[in-house]
Symmetry: C2
Subunit: 197 residues, 2 copies
């Protein structure tokens, strides 16, 4: 049986998302086998991240500075704000290089089941940012799940009465997707929202 | 885009076995979100493992002491030695609690393709241990792969002439396995090695 320090490492690795006991053992062994090339650099990177990464006080993004690089960038479009559930969604949009406005990370979605209410998300801060006179449009880019859409609905209610344009991402057939493999909901939405050629 | 410290962390995580770029991002975000509960304990566990885990000079197992807990345990059967490819295999046998002899970890298998020769494995040390007068049997518990079986064959050649009993694990239908899902090789071996009821 592995020594307690190894057991402890495996246990901690096994709690990470996507890793089970077997993959945690594989990762631990790999780290211990390549101590100089893998374990020590990872240890230093964790230390570095732990000390230097902070949450942006404006948008909720993770970065080395606060305000984050995106909020501080003067070349970004001040008139459009994209609201996302999570930092991972922000990163996905940034990787796609398709949006040059600002972001607002909610930090989750409303969920009665999980006991997540509006005060647990960064919604008050969003309402505050929405009062910025430079802002013209807010894109509610929540996931197309029930909780995501409920949250979008709640936010649009809270922002009612402001002169802002509210929008959401289009639903439809994913690019490269095959009709045969799509669920009925997506197919129905794509047909209803058909566009003239 | 995430800051460079985050990027670096994601890159290092993505090099671990079983993690790709997407799962590395998920793990990094999870670590950064639960800094006190996940990131810091993992950092400390890595530090602890890096400082304290060592390879046993006798069997090649990883443990906090050298010789390892298994080699040092006087209650273990001195007459039987189980040769495995990897520390993970040793751990698997220990988890099953079915073997109470000693182990010898080769650290890999012979592979002409990957350029692994006998001198890259702990075979010389095994031959040395085989001379122990207390030892009566060596179980060659290599994986049932071509390279594993080649290695077992090579070792049995090297140990030829000694009075030791050499054995290997039985091949057959895995417990709980369904015949319909088994490959022809396993099915054939299981039939040939059938046992009287």
């Amino acid at each position: 049986m592995p020594g307690s320090a190894i057991d402890h490492l495996i246990q901690l690795l096994g709690r990470l998302p996507g890793l089970g006991p077997r993959s945690a053992r594989r990762v631990a062994l790999d780290l211990l086998r390549h101590r100089e090339q893998r374990l020590v650099p990872l240890m230093r990177a964790l230390e570095d991240a732990s000390e230097n990464v902070r949450e942006c006080g404006i948008c909720g993004n993770l970065d080395l500075c606060d305000p984050c690089g995106i909020c501080a960038d003067p070349k970004r479009d001040q008139s459009i704000l994209c609201v996302v559930e999570d930092v991972a969604d922000l990163w996905a949009l940034e990787r796609a290089r398709i949006f040059c406005g600002h972001y607002h990370v909610l930090g989750g979605v409303l969920s009665a089941l999980d006991g997540v209410g509006p005060e647990d998300l960064r919604i008050a801060k969003l309402v505050e940012r929405a009062a910025d006179p430079q802002l013209q449009e807010i894109v509610l880019a929540m996931n197309a799940t029930v909780d995501g859409q409920t949250t979008a609905h709640y936010i649009s209610d809270r922002l009612k009465g402001s002169a802002l344009t509210l929008s959401r991402l289009a639903h439809g057939v994913p690019v490269g997707g095959e009709l045969d493999y799509l669920d009925d909901g997506t197919l129905g939405t794509a047909l209803k929202a058909r566009r003239p050629l």
